[in-house]
Amino acid sequence: MFAVIYIPDFFLQAALRHEPELWTRPVALLNKELKKVVELTAVAKETGVCPGLTSTQALARCPTILIKTRSEAQEEAAMNILLECANAFSPKIEATAPGICTLDLQGLSVATVENALLHLWAKKVIAQFSKVLFRAQVGVAENPDLALHAAKIASPFYFVENSDEFISSLSIETIEPPPEILNILGRWGVGTLGAFVALGKDKLAERLGAESLELFERATAHTIRPLNLVRPKEIFEETMEFEHEIETLQPLLFILRRFIEQLSRRLELFYFVAQEIQLSLKLNSGEKLERSFRVPSPTRNIETLFRMLQTHLETVQTDSQIVALHLAAKPAKPEHFQFGLFETALRDPNQFYETLAQLTSLFGSDRVGTPVVENSFRPDAFRMEPVNFEAEKVLPISCRQKPGGEFSKHLTFHDFSANRQSAALCLRRFRPPLPVLLEMRGGRPALLNSEKFVGVIKNASGPFRSSGNWWEPEALWARDEWDIQTSTGELFRVFTQDGDWFLEGAFD
């Protein structure tokens, strides 16, 4: 038993897949080379436009007709989608022609003569194609050629129960005879395959020549030709070239959402999730904007993937309009993660990285992240690094501390700093340090004039001298620190560097 999935007006369906609303409008699809109409919507047909017309002729017959040109990229992607979907129903598939896929049902539970079971199966196939925005017709018969004939006349499903009866009812044009033979048969009054076969193989060969033998074979369709089996490429991409350039975010997001929905459905067919999304925007100037998004927790959730793109695009400004959009998903097998008893992992990493992206777009990457203290004695030397809580499963500190917390033989800056600082009152830093006027009396700070405090210094502790980078004259630094308490009880740290005084922070 064989099934054929047939996509009528395949090129047009490929072109209008992401704009289904255009099916209710007159639309004609032009051949790229000949610039002639190849396929058109039913509404366009009603206005008198027919295949073979030039765009000018089509516009003359229907001024409101929308002219589109065939896109090879879209057709190739559409064919791949057709194979992907077909592969979900049978492992043996053939890419018979553009928009036609033949399935070998041998060995499958549906390969029975039970009409109801086949109907149910075909319904599922058609529903699946409708999810990926294709209108499909399905034909099932005992051999591939008959199944194709059945698919072409199906609405939307046709099961050939009696092959001979079915063949005899088909039009002679189904076997696509050459025009001269078709003309002769027409004059003989032979209109159906039944009448054609009834003439007999020998008689036809005598009158119409050797060519008619091949037509006879096609008309009887009793032979089962071997299928040229293929496997879908598992490339998850969606492409669109815009008729009119896109200037604002909203229409772009609208199309992107449809792309994401489609990619998600296609991934679902293979039980895959997206681990990376690649976005490419082609600009009118010829420039290409490309960006890859790693999905922290691979998923095919439409909302999650869409929000990831939306957050990025809201911060993007292009020099010229967008003329084409390409979106690809890198597939991966879904991760199965079991939360531990002492839960410390992120419950929803995608949501978290989405929030991080929002925070970063609001404040900038230098103001959101994880601080890493530089290996330097210079005060307040740190850098911000992107958050990556998943990278390292950090052991609890209590498991790693040295007994007694003693300094090791080789003292690092971190040891020094953390040990000194953890055993002290915390400092709230003023960034940058505030310039102040400070008066010394008897070698100790006595009066402070700053925006935080003006008055007498009651108590002071210091100086604490530090210096660094003596080997680099440009980066050399040296300073004296004092911890002071004002007459109102406030605690500050002040320091002097190159003769100027600064307020570094307040103890709290």
């Binding site: 929030t355 601080p371 390292e392």
Partner: protein, 228 residues
């Protein structure tokens, strides 16, 4: 009076059919789950620790009452438990060099320039629902900035927080969070002699006063009576 046999059977049937549902006759799950701060006298004061799903306001009544010290202790405790901590720093005043790399590795630090930015950040972070401990540090923000935060903003944040297991601690120079579940005033003023004391001794010296302790909805009535 014990419920009749029919009612018991009906309850059993319903619990089998709808295993995820809870019926009003059952006792509500504990609404006042807490996370111990690790500072004994504060945990005693707060009846076990910092509550989840509410706002805890720590008021730094004097400029050096130890709010940064308390914040550092919470950071270290959370990192020791391998928890992720978010610090929304209202005036970019956090001193990272005072911490071990292991503590900083579990920290998400948002460096804001004013209270307005901090409120935007906290809104996003609370909505995220991934982060167990969120610290909002407004201790250094000028009163002028804090006055600009509408009271409704705090109510909105409270509404978000109460649906999550997040511990949300706001450190402020004066009481501004009217809907805080707990308000803790730090009243001690540290002196210059305290600057170099060990952190455990410093923490023991903290003088917290419980100024407000509201019960959250869903708490068993006996607890309410206790608190009242």
């Amino acid at each position: 009076m014990p419920p009749s046999k029919t009612i018991i059977e009906l309850r059993q049937l319903l619990s089998e059919r709808f295993p995820g549902k809870r019926f009003s006759a059952e006792k509500a799950p504990s609404a006042n789950a807490v996370w111990p701060s690790g500072i004994a006298h504060i945990d005693d004061l707060l009846r076990g620790g910092l509550p989840k799903g509410g706002i805890v306001e720590i008021v730094n009544q004097r400029k050096n009452s130890g709010s940064a010290l308390l914040m550092a202790a919470l950071l270290r405790k959370a990192a020791a438990e391998n928890q992720i901590v978010t610090l929304i720093d209202g005036m970019d005043s956090f001193d990272a060099s005072a911490f071990q790399p292991e503590t900083l590795a579990r920290l998400l630090w948002v460096r804001c320039k004013n209270a307005g930015e901090a409120m935007k950040a906290v809104d996003l972070i609370l909505r995220d629902r991934n982060l167990p401990l969120v610290l909002l540090d407004l201790a250094l923000n000028p009163a002028k900035q804090l006055r600009k935060i509408p009271a409704t903003t705090w109510y909105r944040l409270q509404r978000i927080a109460e649906t999550t297991p997040t511990i949300f601690v706001a450190i402020t120079p004066q009481p501004i969070v009217s809907c805080a579940q707990i308000r803790l005033n730090l009243t001690r003023q540290f002196s210059l002699e305290d600057v170099d004391l060990e952190d455990q001794r410093l923490l023991a010296k903290l003088k917290p006063e419980l100024a407000q302790h509201r019960l959250i909805l869903g708490e068993p009535p006996e607890k309410r009576a206790e608190a009242g």
